[in-house]
Amino acid sequence: MTPRTEAQEARNRSRRHVSERRMEDAVVGETSLAESVLTTPIVRPYGDTTGDGMVQVSFTLPLPHDKRAEGAALQLAAKMGMEPAILVHAKAIGPKFTFFVVYGSVTHLVDVREVQVVEREYDLLSAKDTNAAIRKHLRRKLVVVGACIGTDAHTVGIDAILNIKGFAGEKGLEYYREMAVHNLGAQVLIPDLVNTAREVRADAVLVSQVVTQRDAHIHNTQAMSAAFREAFPKGKVPLLIVGGPRFEEGSAGTLGVDRIFGRGTTPGEVASYLVHALVNPPTPSRKGA
């Protein structure tokens, strides 16, 4: 029962299983080994062989570590569609909990045709093109106000987008010559954000919500958008943008904002969107490049 044997055994069992499955279990629409993955809409997770369906999960059960707990872990894996599941690691965390690592082949198939994604509705522009578009069409600086609101003190998100240093090799909006950026920092009160936006005549307001609990990011965002709609006449509300890892794609409407950006967004994407939404009148038919 040393981990080494367990792991070896797991690998052997997995190999055996995959070869069995490949012989008996070809799925209609699934590619053979020779075919390119891209040509089929039906896919399975990939361990080390096409079609093996291998996944790895880890979880903790509120059970003391014994045979029964290991059986319970396998039962959970089976209910998650892992068949067969291989328990490769189990370790007690204190007297009441056990941590498991389980490998196994999932019975589920993924149909890529059924996946829905929000396509980027604007073209990606270089910093130069962004500046040029603002200069040519807006003929003044595009004013951006950014902040972390509510109790969130984590400015990493807003700083990644606004600070010159930027993120992922792209310079932040402060670097754009045709933008005037006001980064208000963390824990900005909503009334202060609204006032600043009015004072500097903001075209767009960027709000970041990184750390959140009990849907604080949603409540804060809704309070923020309501405050803006109250403070500005209809049609004069600045473009409202929120960013953060916890926002759901497609929830902009419920939040009362114009656009949501998720994890991994780069400053260039935000800048391009600003040009799309504020500088060029939006043309609904345009699709991402």
């Binding site: 979880f59 903790t60 965390i93 204190g94 941590f99 109790t151 240093k165 824990q187 009990r214």
Partner: protein
């Protein structure tokens, strides 16, 4: 350890002295400024020492009511205690609590007593405030006794783990479990909004955002639970919370009264990262550090924050500058070397070539500059991407730097940083990581001698030189933006020297709670703390 560390980097003692001299030159005018002011929170803390606690039905603490009432009546220029104990002596109310209750509805008229009345009010105030100070002294003695009984952790660094559920009754079993798994220090993260509250919430709390409110009752409950754990585990488990934000002096006081063992307490964090008024911060900070000194509490400073907002290589010297300033302010307030948990962090982008060697150089520099301080070594957060496997490796390297450079306090890194608040299993895996590294490489401090003039030495010398350059700039800063505040450090803060954030002395949250002291100002707490008296 000390002499060995000295040899490791070959720092010129004259250069190190120069750095400290500059920190003192920058800090001294700010200390003078702090001494010339008081704040609503300092005054409330003083009332808490005299035993006033609790809140009205809307959860507004009685200390807030009483300080506000005195401020409205006669102002706070002379301190809150003189008018309050004068009112008690005049029979306005039989005790402090009743007086606060009466005052909250405007039923008390305060005055500034003279002659015999003044002497009496001051004497009585001192008598009552001294009781709180003696409670703090007793708690310190209790801690010493429990440490003797249960023992300190066998090895260094002490393992520091964070608990943050928002619910004190969830925090307690999690903290006890963490202690069983090997944590030596439990930090209960505060609800993120608390630093901007101008009052301390009351009672046991079950609702918080990304953390649990710091309240006297929560402190008491957690300390009692960890006393049980200490007994069970045969080592004293320390408890940490945050003395920062607008109520810094009060939280420090409650920490002393309830025997917390460490407090996060940075000299400039609130100014830069919470936009709290600089003067408010320096006044509150000095009082809170005086309390910490008395209570035997180890402070933890927040230099890690500079590295999360700026590049960890470019801004390495700002950490050193902040450590030197924190040291100056701490010692001025009476803290001893063993109480200075000066912070630094492993935040260099892993994509930077030789990032590990740079981290080693920076960590050794801190170790060598502050040989007697229990440095607090903090894990990567900025470059934790959500790839938990890579994050686990990064945390391993972080632990290795901790082992190789003899850090005093090691904040355990979580592979799920930036993904979720730590799960039970995350904590367990993280502790396994720490144990593996300490077990495998704990003695490496004996063998690790960076070569003279090599990469690590050169880098450390460079960072120290840059720190001195910045300190020189700060100590001589005369932007002259505000003639009322000629203090160079305030100038430097105002013109964005730290963390690229500009914080003017006339702006920021909590400014309206700052009061210039009159000639007759009296605060028995400060007197007792500065004299070291107990009655």
């Amino acid at each position: 350890m000390t002499s060995r560390a000295r040899r490791l980097l070959d720092l010129d003692p004259a250069t190190v002295r120069r750095a400290r001299t500059l920190a003192r030159r920058a800090g001294k005018p700010v200390v003078d400024l702090a001494k010339a002011h008081t704040t609503v929170s300092v005054e409330r803390a003083t009332l808490r020492l005299a035993g006033l606690s609790g809140a009205d039905h809307e959860n507004v603490p009685w200390v807030n009511h009483l300080v506000d009432a005195v401020r409205e009546g006669v102002g706070l220029e002379h301190g809150v205690t003189t008018p309050v104990w004068d009112a008690l002596a005049r029979g306005e109310a039989p005790d402090l609590l009743t007086l606060a209750q009466k005052a909250s509805s405007g039923g008390v008229s305060f005055r500034l007593p003279e002659k015999a009345g003044l002497t009496r009010a001051r004497r009585n105030a001192r008598r009552d405030v001294a009781r709180g100070i003696r409670t703090i002294d007793r708690q310190r003695a209790t801690r010493d006794r429990l440490i003797t009984k249960h023992g300190d952790p066998e090895t260094k660094p002490w393992v520091y783990l964070i608990v943050a559920t928002g619910d004190i009754y969830e925090d307690i079993p999690q903290a006890q479990e963490a202690a069983r798994e090997g944590a030596d220090i439990i930090a209960v993260i505060r609800s993120t909004g608390q630093s901007l509250l101008d009052f301390v919430p009351e009672g046991a709390t079950r609702e918080g955002y990304a953390g649990t409110y710091a309240t006297q009752e929560n402190f008491r409950l957690m300390r009692a639970a960890l006393d049980e754990s200490s007994k069970e585990l045969g080592r004293y488990i320390r408890l940490t919370n945050y003395a920062s934000g607008l109520c810094m002096p009060e939280i420090a006081t409650l920490a002393g009264l309830e025997r917390l063992d460490m407090m996060l307490n940075d000299s400039m964090y609130g100014i830069l990262f919470r936009d709290i008024n600089p003067i408010r911060t320096f006044v509150d900070q000095r009082f809170s550090r005086q309390i910490h000194a008395r209570a035997g509490i180890i402070i933890n400073t927040g230099e890690d924050n500079y590295l999360t907002t700026a590049d960890a290589v470019d801004a390495a010297h700002t950490v050193t500058v902040s450590q030197l300033l924190n040291e100056y302010f701490a010692k001025e307030a009476g803290l001893a070397d063993w109480q200075l948990g000066l912070g630094h962090a492993f935040e260099i982008d892993p994509a930077v070539p030789q990032s590990f060697r740079l981290e080693l150089a920076h960590a050794l520099l801190a170790r060598e500059l502050f040989p007697q301080a229990p440095l607090k070594w903090m894990p990567p957060t900025k470059h934790m991407t959500g790839d938990v496997f890579r994050g686990y490796l990064l945390d391993g390297f972080f632990n290795l730097v901790g082992a190789m450079t003899g850090q005093g306090i090691l904040l355990v890194g979580m592979m799920t940083e930036a993904v979720v608040t730590p799960w039970l299993s995350d904590r367990d895996l993280a502790l396994q990581n720490v144990r593996y590294v300490m077990n495998a490489a704990g003695g490496l401090t004996e063998d690790f001698h960076p070569p003279r003039g090599g990469f690590i030495q050169q880098r450390a010398h460079q960072v120290l030189a840059e720190a001195i350059e910045l300190l020189e700039e700060i100590a001589t800063d005369q932007g002259g933006a505000d003639p009322h505040y000629p203090q160079p450090l305030l100038e430097a803060i105002a013109d964005g020297t730290f963390g690229a954030m500009k914080r003017a002395p006339t702006k920021g949250k909590g400014l309206d709670g700052v009061v210039v002291k009159a000639d007759g100002y009296d605060n028995p707490a400060v007197t007792l703390l500065e004299e070291g008296s107990t009655t």
